[in-house]
Amino acid sequence: MADTPVRTRTMITGASRPMMPKHVKMRHDPGRGRWIILAPERVFNPDDTAVSVLKLCDGQNSVADIAAALAAEYQAPLDVVTEDIVAMLQDLADKGVVLA
């Protein structure tokens, strides 16, 4: 397995362009009336903020773009929103739910 590159931890910054990999599926579950994220042997229950963030994680938008959009939508201070989003996405990246 010498040909396997050594993997490194993805660090989320304002410049990161996060996306969910194909095998992570976020969808609305009509029976339970909530959004769910399906991942290998995991189910995540995102709240409305997380859903708003993750819907914007398309590999094109940067974290800064997403934070700006959310700060406007929720009329919240940009630095607070940015910190919140970076922490959330870092945690999800560490769990393999988000790539960047």
């Binding site: 095998h23 339970r32 189910v43 709240d47």
Partner: protein, 406 residues
């Protein structure tokens, strides 16, 4: 295993076997709440009990079901459709060895079509590249590949199967080639526990996103083989520390899930996340169980998907209702502040060791059986290991001598 991702996301680990974190869905107010409020989130499908390996800790019952009793392709496909409409989110295609079913592709195809998140739990040794690529194309979401050890010879001895490890490395490459996420599952016991750090490294090298350091749970075959498998408390503590070190080292690279042996745990595990709460299990012949070991509770009767709808069985089946919730509990569970946390532990273990499934699991320090139970682990783990009783249809006699105690 429940934790909150900075305020916004609750994570629920999906139990496959007798181990469960929380994950019970909240009641929804749309569409048929009576059904969906209490739908299982996960369904374990034992497609067949056939398996080329003979691991002595197999989670299948000692009385294995024979191939001629298995559900047909159409019956499994119908189960998938029923599961999706009931509200099941993830299915775990297991066995035995699920790839021993020639119609696995047809089952996966329907599961994917109805929106179930499909997980293949395989030993890998009989899988081909073409088959795996085809499964991925049909919508398979994830592969969990088991290993017996990172030492090839020891792995062969544990599984009673030659050359398994090399084949698994090959399969892991195909999984990545197919663009699928990979979990390496390593059942841990006294005869491989010294290799825990190497198993984690092995999983990293295979590009797995997850590795399960899954201490053997002592039911069925593993209970028969307990004295060949039970690690000492010291060995367990060492392995637990090694897992913590590896978690720090590989943060963001691989997720390490550890399943602890409850003989050395402080409190009983919330088995299955609570009886009939989040998980449903279907045997090869279509019997519907609240957990894969439930048939060991001899007074329970189980419905079959050949006779009844899955939703009816889940909601009203005798075996499901018997220990659902907390009303069935006796003392010390009934008045225990942890009763909604661990649900009195494991019903199968309570039945096997106390004769009454409604008793507290002896893993609980409040059980009158607890001291005996802890002594069993202590004594057995410090005695020379017995020979393996290999998993086989019709049972088996000890054949291969176990390794000397370390």
């Amino acid at each position: 295993m429940n934790e909150t991702v900075p305020k916004h996301i609750v994570e629920n680990a999906m139990p496959v076997c007798a181990r469960t974190p929380d994950g019970s869905p909240a009641a929804g107010d749309e569409t048929d709440p009576a059904l969906c409020a209490r739908a299982p989130i996960g369904m374990l499908c034992e497609l067949t009990h056939k398996c080329p390996l003979q691991c002595p800790y197999c989670s299948n019952p000692v009385e294995l079901e024979r191939a001629n009793t298995e559900l047909t392709t159409a019956q499994w496909q119908d189960v998938m459709r029923q599961a999706a409409s009931l509200g099941v989110l993830q299915i775990h295609l297991s066995g035995g060895e699920p790839t021993a079913r020639k119609d696995l592709e047809e089952i996966v195809k329907v599961a994917a079509e109805v929106g179930l998140y499909t997980n293949l739990i395989t030993a890998g040794v009989t899988l081909t590249r073409d088959r795996l690529l085809k499964l991925a194309e049909l919508g398979l979401d994830h592969v969990q590949l088991s290993i017996q050890d990172v030492d090839a010879e020891n792995a062969d001895r544990i599984a009673a199967y030659k050359g398994g490890l090399a084949k698994k490395i090959e399969v892991a490459k195909w999984v990545k080639e197919a663009g699928l996420p990979l979990t390496v599952n390593a059942p841990i016991h006294r005869q491989n526990i010294h290799n825990v750090p190497r198993m984690i490294e092995f999983a990293v090298e295979l590009n797995a996103g997850r590795v399960e350091i899954a201490h053997v749970q002592y039911y069925a075959w593993a209970l028969l083989n307990r004295s060949a498998l039970m690690p000492t408390r010291e060995a367990f503590m060492t392995a637990a520390k090694q897992v913590e070190v590896a978690r720090e080292k590989y943060k963001g690279i691989i997720v390490i899930d550890a399943i602890v042996p409850d003989y050395y745990a402080k409190f009983p595990k919330p088995c299955m996340g609570g009886w009939a709460r989040g998980i449903v299990n279907i045997t090869p012949s279509g019997r519907v169980l609240p957990c894969h070991a439930a048939e060991s509770i001899t007074h329970l009767t189980f419905d079959n998907v050949k006779d009844k709808k899955l939703a009816d069985i889940w909601l009203t089946g005798d075996a499901f209702q018997k220990y659902r919730g907390t009303e069935w509990m006796k003392e010390p569970c009934r008045s225990c502040p942890r009763k909604d946390i661990d649900f009195g532990g494991c019903r199968c273990q309570a039945f096997a060791l106390t004769g009454d499934a409604a008793n507290t699991d002896p893993a609980c320090s409040l059980s009158p059986m607890h001291d005996n139970w802890a002594t069993v682990a202590e004594v057995e783990s410090h005695s020379a290991p017995t020979d393996f009783i290999y998993r086989k249809v019709g049972g088996a006699k000890p054949k291969v001598p176990a390794e000397p105690a370390e």
